[in-house]
Symmetry: C2
Subunit: 192 residues, 2 copies
């Protein structure tokens, strides 16, 4: 998606350790017009795919998922919550996600009332790098008996391999910007 | 706002300890059509008030703030982040917020690049009870030299007094549903 690539080139900041900061428009300050265009683009890419729910994870995915939902007939958005601990009261699907940024595992939960057998789920998130967060969301869908109808990503760091692993497993992953390479010395970003 | 009150009556669950669960439509599963109507109502209530930015706090405020922003000319949404610790590198406004639910203080931060002197800020959040979260967001606006042009709340628990304290200090607080009383034995909710 040209508009997103242009914005990343213009306002994204490449940092050491394969970090791309997009907090000026995606995940601290949110450009809701850009989110609207991203939602329209995901709707175009997933046209004809049955989707009755969008699943994302707090916090950065929520804004883009809610605005994208308007382009999918206003389907409900469910966001997985990062929990302090897993409460095994039987009311929640739970899994753990490993964060490379924070170098630790954290539990995430989704209320069982909000994800059911037969749901056709579009998973949306801001970043796809190693794919750990998505693996967690996919596990939660599997536990619920829900089908992952597609995965919509804003920025895929293609060189970290998570997206290709998911595609090899048969998931349809649509990333609006795919970064092939980036250089923290020069700040240069190459898109796939 | 009748639609929100009806929805709270229908799908809200009153729990012991003055807890109202609205996770079926507001803060775990999100009804984006309802969010759109809430955004339109805040825009009506704050008509004529100059607003160039919306400030909220992760995670529950983000979805409704992003959709509301579409009714305020697509102004940027900034969400305060809950931090592990306050990093005093000078790049962030920081404060601590006391959570009655979790009975502890947590630090919240906003990047200095995203809030400036002269900004006219609408603060949006899902709940107003004691007002601790809002006090933190107001402090961050003050630190930035930004003006709090208004405060838009989905659900105010009027009996907990936070809203009236803010109104006494001169803030314009517009809550779309104001709960006067609720009873966890009968599940009854009385609106103001």
């Amino acid at each position: 998606m040209q508009e997103l690539e242009d914005r990343i080139r213009h306002d994204g900041i490449v940092k050491a350790g394969n970090v791309l900061k997009v907090d000026a428009f995606l995940n601290h300050q949110c450009d809701v017009e850009l989110f609207d265009h991203m939602g329209a683009e995901w709707a175009r890419l997933f046209e004809g795919v049955e989707i009755n729910k969008i699943l994302t994870i707090e916090a950065s995915g929520i804004g883009m998922a809610c605005i994208a939902a308007q382009h999918f007939g206003g389907v409900p958005v469910v966001f997985a919550k990062k929990a302090q601990s897993i409460n095994l009261d039987g009311e929640q699907y739970a899994t753990t996600i490993y964060s490379f940024t924070k170098q630790k595992e954290y539990p995430v939960i989704v209320g069982k009332r909000f994800l059911s057998e037969g749901d056709k789920v579009l998973i949306i998130d801001d970043f796809l790098a190693n794919g750990c967060a998505l693996e967690g969301l996919i596990k939660i869908c599997e536990a619920a008996g829900a089908e992952v109808a597609g995965i919509g990503i804003a920025v895929e760091k293609g060189f970290q391999g998570g997206g290709d692993k998911l595609r090899e497993r048969g998931f349809r992953v649509e990333s609006l910007a795919r970064i092939a390479d980036m250089d923290c010395e020069t700040g240069e970003i190459t898109f796939a």
